[in-house]
């Protein structure tokens, strides 16, 4: 089992005592779980189809052409139509659809015209549809999932680079430190937004959508890792001059051991408190880029794109902007609450006597 440091246990307990942050954390964790299994909740593929005595679970499998279920077309079967057909024919066949039976990409226009529809429980468009009749809830759901995955990936990459370089600067010091400080100063003065726009405009669309999202992530990381190095560098400098590091060195510990076993664990609290705010920053950045049209390639569902649509249809379809805005605010508030709780519980001033 985990052999947690009593200090860490203490911090975690303090975190649990910050109610607001702790419940936000639980809520977000629950949401994340639902999102991991999102295809079972929001999808136009059925959960279970019972057809001619055989059970199908199409959610994660290969697509079924319409001919598999007695339709005359061989593109992907429309499970909602299938459900209606089974109901009408009174057969033993049945379909179990997910809670929200729409994919974020399909245009579903009950009136035959692509236009925003207000929320409609009967049609199971719980938050209405957007300008091309795509379900808003489905787009919000997957948009949030992509934004969160994107933000987590962003945070990991930024931390790995930031920690590696910041720590080396602090630990090695000297010319290496001086050199990298200058590099970072220059690098961090390149305007981030322009670079994203320029780089993204030359990426050919021939790449698939996931590739383009990864490229966007890399570009954003490329221009965001510098912030982390400042903290890591100062923290490492500080810890390096402590007695316990000198002691470790005297008994012959290697540099690797000193960095990984002694210094890093001691600067971890600084890092942890930054994490939620990095996530908030990443979600905001990707939403802003999408809003400007330079973010995730269409037709990827995204919060920014919905906000943009909402702003353009403020008068005629207020439900678009309301749901997108509420989701974004809620998400960012939750993460910020967690961040504040983490910061509070990891605050060294309340328990440390060394400083």
């Amino acid at each position: 089992m985990f052999d947690l440091n009593p200090q860490t246990v203490k911090k975690l307990r303090r975190f649990r005592n910050v109610r607001r942050g702790y419940y936000s954390f639980l809520f977000l964790l629950g949401l994340a779980l639902v999102m991991v299994l999102g295809e079972l909740v929001v999808n136009n593929r059925a959960l279970i189809v019972s057809y001619e005595g055989e059970l199908f679970f199409p959610t994660y499998t290969e697509f079924h052409p319409g001919t598999d279920f007695g339709f005359d077309y061989d593109y992907e079967v429309n499970y909602r139509d299938l459900e209606t057909r089974f109901e009408q024919t009174q057969s033993d066949n049945w379909v179990l659809m997910p809670l929200v039976p729409y994919s974020p990409y399909e245009n579903h226009a009950p009136g035959g015209i692509f236009k925003p529809l207000p929320p409609d429980l009967d049609a199971q468009h719980y938050l209405g549809t957007d300008t091309t009749s795509r379900d808003i809830l489905a787009r919000l759901f997957y948009g949030t999932r992509i934004a969160l995955i994107f933000a987590l990936g962003f945070m990991l990459a930024v931390y790995i680079i930031g920690i590696a370089i910041g720590c080396s600067m602090g630990y090695i010091g000297g010319a290496f430190d001086l050199f990298f400080q200058r590099v970072i100063e220059i690098w961090s003065n390149i305007p981030f937004l322009y670079m994203v726009i320029i780089i993204f405009s030359v990426i050919p669309a021939a790449f698939s959508v996931p590739t383009r999202i990864i490229i966007l992530l890399l570009v954003m990381v490329l221009f965001s890792w510098t912030g982390m190095t400042y903290y890591m560098r100062t923290e490492t400098y500080k810890e390096k001059s402590r007695d316990y590091v000198s002691a470790a060195r005297i008994i012959g510990a290697s540099d690797t051991r000193i960095v990984f076993r002694h210094i890093l664990p001691n600067v971890l609290s600084t890092l942890v408190t930054f994490m939620p705010f990095t996530v908030v920053g990443a979600v905001t950045a990707i939403t802003a880029l999408d809003y400007l049209g330079f973010g995730l390639p269409p037709p990827t569902p995204s919060l920014g794109e919905l906000l943009k649509q909402g702003a353009a249809n403020l008068r005629t379809a207020p439900w678009i902007v309301i749901s997108a805005f509420t989701t974004l605010t809620l998400l960012l508030t939750l993460i910020t609450f967690i961040g504040e709780a983490v910061r509070e519980s990891f605050d060294p001033k309340t328990y440390s006597v060394y400083r």
Partner: protein, 652 residues
């Protein structure tokens, strides 16, 4: 020597800018003074075949002079002058020049195209000619020459009379390298062979190519000789923000250009043509006030507030939802909605496939794409039936468009048959077709029209049913255009603006010369080392010897009937080639305008592409006050919802 002058060209304006801070408008004072009189005269003398000077006695005697007899007058006698029209531009003009880099922007119609009076006008209802700068003209069909006698009253906006020299100079200017407009220079060099000055008021222009409507090419807008006396190496910078005198009704006054913010054009009360037939009832507002509003949604909000006077409502979303007939402002009669059927060659919205790209070089794939493009769904569900399916790219060139060709219908089975014939017969796990090598049937569909991004997603979804994956790339206008001009696209959704002309042009889109550098070897076989040629309009990279031959005959032809036949044949070949998926067209214009902005009872003339281009509307200033007062008091007027279908196609 060249490098010294090159350096000077950049250095002089730079110094000027330093000395004067940002007041670049006055930089002429410190710029080196140029007088190109000697240079121009030397050029005239050096090319006497092109620039001829004769006397009035040399004028042929047998000319039949025309004066544009009794044709219906343009505009409405009801129109009254006055008021200010508020107009929104999407971008601030990058220059006030009429030629050279960046001059072909969206503001140019207000500076030149819609405003300036040319030699002879073409009536938009009947295609008959009426006098402009020329009082009289004579067409010499045998020598493809048109003779003109200028109106003695014709004046530039700065008071200088318009003379034959201004036309002579137009040719010199267009042919000079200073203006840095190679397309224009090439056009003038290849389309015109002579200009002759007989006296101050009399001139003739000779066109190279004999066409049924060759004379329209001689109906030119002059260039003010006195204004362009400083044209030299630094033309582009020197004339960047200088307002060119005009023969038209509106002028830019000193201080009315606030860079990046707004522009005001003022009606010239002493305009020489103000009482002339076909001009007197047009160009009515006293002032045109231009603001910059980049975003369509914002432009609409500004319109709704009354900050701008009229707005086009071509998109269904605006016509039906943002400003429905039931809108309070419409119901109260404050805002009018006008629906006008026009007749104008239609912009060929559709999918242009670059046949030089892998996969798209296979005709089966192209045919599959034809049947996998569900334009009918776009028309029915996105445009709500307010559009028609295009069958050929040359719609509304009467006689020249093919009478029977029909666009291929959306048919998943046919599409899959063609894809299978090209080797794509297996559906992958995501439903996309793959071939034996495991290659996916995926192509990029790009566009520069952000407003059509919804159309793109519909096409994508529908193509997926046929097993074709379209990867969408929605770019801003400039980037999208650059992409196709560099021929980097696979499939591109775009349309070309069409001029009101008698016959369509084929050379620019379909001749091999515009597809590749040296497409074929001497013996007619395909040049294995040919390279795609950038910066041309042959977006399909079509290089077919038979088409080349037809286009060449077509270009040289003077016989309308023969041209029509060739046009039909070309459209048949292109239809078989299947590299263009015809999209949609809208045979009408619809706009919303405030009640005080009035149009004639017939709304507008037949062959227009924009309702504003004829300038037949006017601002009723009394009514404006009345409407504004009524908006405050809640008083209402009868709603104005008008359809003008006098030019509607009968078959519809």
């Amino acid at each position: 020597m060249k490098s010294v002058t090159q350096l000077g060209r950049w250095f002089v304006p730079a110094v000027a800018a330093l000395v004067l801070g940002c007041g670049a408008e006055d930089s002429g004072e410190v710029e080196e003074v140029i007088d190109n009189t000697a240079e121009v005269e030397a050029a005239y003398a050096a090319d006497p075949d092109y620039y001829s000077f004769k006397t009035i006695d040399d004028l042929p005697d047998d000319l039949v002079w025309e004066r544009g007899g009794d044709i219906p007058e343009m505009g409405s006698p009801e129109a009254n002058k006055g008021g200010t029209e508020y107009i929104a531009l999407t971008d601030f003009p990058r220059t006030l020049r009429h030629m050279g880099p960046d001059s072909n922007g969206s503001f140019r119609p207000y500076l030149l195209d819609d405003m300036a009076v040319g030699l002879v006008g073409v009536h938009p209802d009947t295609n008959e000619y009426f006098p402009g700068l020329a009082d009289e003209w004579a067409i010499d069909r045998d020598n493809t020459t048109v003779y003109f006698r200028l109106d003695p009253n014709a004046r530039w906006s700065d008071g200088v009379p318009v003379t034959s020299d201004d036309f002579m100079f137009l040719f010199w200017l267009s042919r000079s390298d200073y203006i840095r407009a190679p397309y224009r220079t090439n056009w003038v060099n290849t389309q015109y062979s002579n200009i002759t000055r007989y006296d101050e008021r009399t001139l003739s222009i000779t066109v190279v190519v004999d066409k049924p409507d060759f004379e329209t090419r001689a109906f030119l807008d002059p260039a003010p000789r006195h204004f362009y006396s400083e044209v030299g190496d630094d033309f582009v910078e020197r004339y960047q923000w200088r307002y060119v005198p005009t023969t038209g009704p509106y002028i830019l006054k000193e201080g009315d250009l606030d860079k990046g913010r707004n522009i005001v054009l003022t009606r010239n009360k002493d305009w020489w043509a103000k009482d002339k037939k076909h001009f007197r009832y047009r160009f009515n507002p006293d002032r045109l006030h231009f603001n910059i509003i980049r975003d369509t949604a914002k432009r609409f909000e500004a319109f709704k507030r009354g900050d701008i006077d009229q707005m086009r409502m071509q998109l269904s979303e605006y016509w039906y939802e943002k400003l429905p007939d039931s809108d309070p402002d419409v119901q109260a009669g404050y805002i009018a909605k006008s629906f006008f059927y026009n007749r104008h060659p239609r912009p060929p919205y559709g999918l242009w496939m670059n046949t030089a790209k892998p996969l798209l070089d296979d005709r089966n794939i192209r045919l599959g794409i034809q049947h996998a493009s569900n334009w009918q769904l776009v028309i029915d569900q996105y445009f709500r039936g307010d559009a028609e399916r295009l069958d050929t790219p040359q719609k509304d060139y009467p006689g020249f468009d093919h009478p029977t060709i029909e666009a291929r219908e959306y048919d998943i089975e046919k599409a899959q048959e063609y894809f299978a014939a090209a080797g794509f017969d297996e559906r992958g796990p995501d439903g996309i077709l793959t071939n034996a090598a495991g290659e996916k049937l995926a192509l990029t569909l790009s566009t520069g029209y952000e407003s059509l991004s919804d159309v793109m997603t519909i096409l994508k979804q529908e193509a997926e049913k046929a097993g074709l994956e379209l990867r969408l790339e929605i770019l801003d206008g400039t980037t999208g255009w650059k992409k196709v001009q560099e021929k980097k696209h696979e499939i591109h959704l775009v349309a070309f603006g069409r001029f009101a002309a008698m016959y369509p042009r084929y050379w620019e889109h379909y001749h091999s010369e515009n597809a590749y550098d040296k497409a074929f070897l001497e013996d007619g076989s395909i040049n294995p080392e040919r390279q795609l040629k950038p910066q041309t309009n042959n977006l399909e990279s079509i290089a077919i010897p038979e088409v080349d031959a037809l286009i060449e005959t077509y270009r040289a032809s003077t016989d309308r009937e023969e041209m029509e036949q060739i046009s039909h044949r070309l459209l048949e070949i292109l239809h078989e080639h299947a590299s263009y998926v015809p999209g949609y067209y809208q045979p009408w214009i619809r706009i919303a305008h405030w009640r005080w902005l009035r149009y004639p009872d017939f709304f507008n003339h037949k062959q227009i592409s924009l309702p504003t281009e004829t300038w037949v509307h006017w601002i009723d200033t009394d009514l404006k006050e009345e409407v504004q007062a009524a908006r405050k008091s809640g008083q209402t007027f009868p709603p104005m919802l008008n359809t003008y279908d006098q030019w509607k196609e009968q078959s519809e």
